[in-house]
Amino acid sequence: MVQFLQQLINGLSIGSVYALMAVGYSLVYSIMNFSNFAHGGVIMFGAYFGFFFLTLFHFSFPVAFVSAALCTALLAVLIERTAYKPLRERKAPFLYFIICAMGASIFLENLVIAIPAIGPTFRTYPEIFSKEPFHLGLLTIGRLDVLMFIISAVCLALLVYFIDYTKVGKAIQATSYNIKASALMGINTDHIIIIIFALGGLFAGIAGVLFGMKYTVYPQIGMITNKSFIAAVFGGLGSLPGAVIGSILLGIIETFTSGYISSQYRDLIAFVLLIGILVVRPSGLMGKTTEDKA
């Protein structure tokens, strides 16, 4: 029982960071209908921004945290402007977007390796919070885990507020429902797309810093973030609550697999789950079933 609860807590903490990442995939998918694989690269940059703001510029933690998030938001918008906008204007099929996103992700990952000052080495964040865990009865809870969970929860709550209760959020909803009709109703869909990329980038930066603090920072982090993409598919691409629930579930399933079976099967379970959900219910747990218009 103690082990069960312990794994559950670990799963919640990692799942909440997955949720921050998955939201970025889902936001883009909900409007542009393609899987933005460059998102992993943006998350990786977030981890590096945070690291260098803390170690090189000696920012205090909150400042470094916010500036890293702002930098990745800028980066995500920059990618959209250079790589996706020309395709969008040409009304290219979704696959060209995916290939472009793959190209961008190869570019970002290798850029980090190629810049001599960064390179392929693993880097560890300085210790900001003491490693001393809380003790709750028989359970031990890491301070960082609690922090991760709280920050993620707050960010996601803010996102829900933004989407549901502000004018821009309503415009985002309308655009995701029908981009052409919303453009006719006077919504500047181009701005909406910039806003969703900025939002996704913001969350990517936050997730990147949290992820880097929990583990280490290295150029291939982007590959791990593929799992948050699985979480987004699991919950239903394009659905924000789906992305969050899918991520939490995936986090829990992962920690349970490594806790009860073997940590070697952790990644495998994630991909098997991906195929499984696509076979049984392609639109995911919470996704809207789209009619095939052929």
Binding site: A83, C100, M102, F107, N110, N226, L268, L274, L278, P282
Partner: protein, 293 residues
């Protein structure tokens, strides 16, 4: 020929074999896969098992690799071919990565550490030979009734269903053939590298194959050939840049997608008759230009 150039050509040939198969699936049937490295892995590990553990000769072992990949593709196809657009793509991505992760845990094949000591059977001659056979089969298939049906499925799925084409059957046929090509490519790779490691067949490899197909031009076999040679050689040409070469590669992919989305060949083929047509058109243009004067 010096061994370095020969090595690059062999690698290009191995890539080409996999790309030919993917070209049928993507360029002619309109299905996109991010899991072909998985089929390559199956083919590679099967062929290597046959030669190393059962002492089969090279060519039957290769064919066995292709067959195993095709069998697996039937299973995968049954599950996923009914998925629409993006979701089929994601499912193949999941398949490719799952294959790699399963192989990571199979100790019989050395697990994640890899499997050394596979005999070196792949030479430039047999790579070229196998590729030529592959191209001939593919070219004939595309011109046959089945090939035309596949193209119909690519152009308009619903309409081709209405005219009486069994869409699922042709998608499955295309997937099977393309998987067996990838399996043979995997077998060639195993016997060229003399070493197998699941890491060699990651998502990056699948992406590379899809990028080559699109770079060469969808729906063009000669484009795929050109793409495989150019894109395999490109990182080698850029080797003096060392770590910057993959940065350039990523950038090049984006630039091609933006500036020339139809790829190098843009659906055209290099055949004697197409060349003749091109020349006669040029001639005609000259004549009309002169007549205009």
């Amino acid at each position: 020929m010096d061994t370095y150039v020969q090595g690059i050509l062999i690698l290009a040939g191995i890539n080409l074999m996999a790309v030919l198969g993917l070209s049928l699936l993507t360029g002619f049937t309109g299905l996109f896969s991010f899991g072909h490295a998985g089929f390559m892995a199956i083919g590679g590990y099967t062929a290597a098992t046959m030669t190393v553990k059962f002492h089969w000769p090279f060519i039957p072992a290769l064919l066995m690799g292709g067959l195993m990949a095709a069998l697996l593709s039937v299973f995968i196809g049954r599950l996923t071919l009914n998925l629409k657009g993006d979701y089929f793509c994601i499912a193949t991505l999941g398949f490719g990565e799952a294959t790699r992760l399963i192989l990571d845990n199979v100790q019989y094949f050395g697990g994640a550490r890899g499997w050394p000591g596979i005999p070196n059977y792949t030479t430039l001659t047999n790579v070229i030979f196998i590729n030529i056979i592959g191209i001939i089969i593919l070219a004939n298939l595309i011109r046959s009734r089945h090939g035309r049906n596949m193209i119909a499925v690519r152009e308009e799925e619903l309409a081709s269903q209405i005219v009486g084409i069994n869409v699922f059957k042709y998608k499955m046929m295309s997937l099977m053939i393309s998987a067996s090509y990838a399996g043979i490519a995997g077998g060639l790779m195993a016997h060229y590298m003399t070493f197998l490691q699941p890491k060699m067949f990651s998502l990056i490899k699948s992406t590379e194959l899809t990028i080559i197909v699109i770079f060469g031009g969808l729906g063009s076999i000669s484009g795929s050939v050109l793409g495989a040679v150019v894109l395999t050689a490109l990182p080698e040409v850029l080797r003096s840049f060392a770590s910057w070469r993959l940065v350039v590669y990523g950038l090049a992919v984006i630039i091609i997608m933006i500036s020339r989305p139809e790829g190098l060949m843009g659906g055209y083929e290099f055949t004697p008759s197409s060349m003749r047509k091109l020349f006669s058109r040029l001639k005609k243009k000259n004549i009309t230009a002169e007549g205009g004067k």
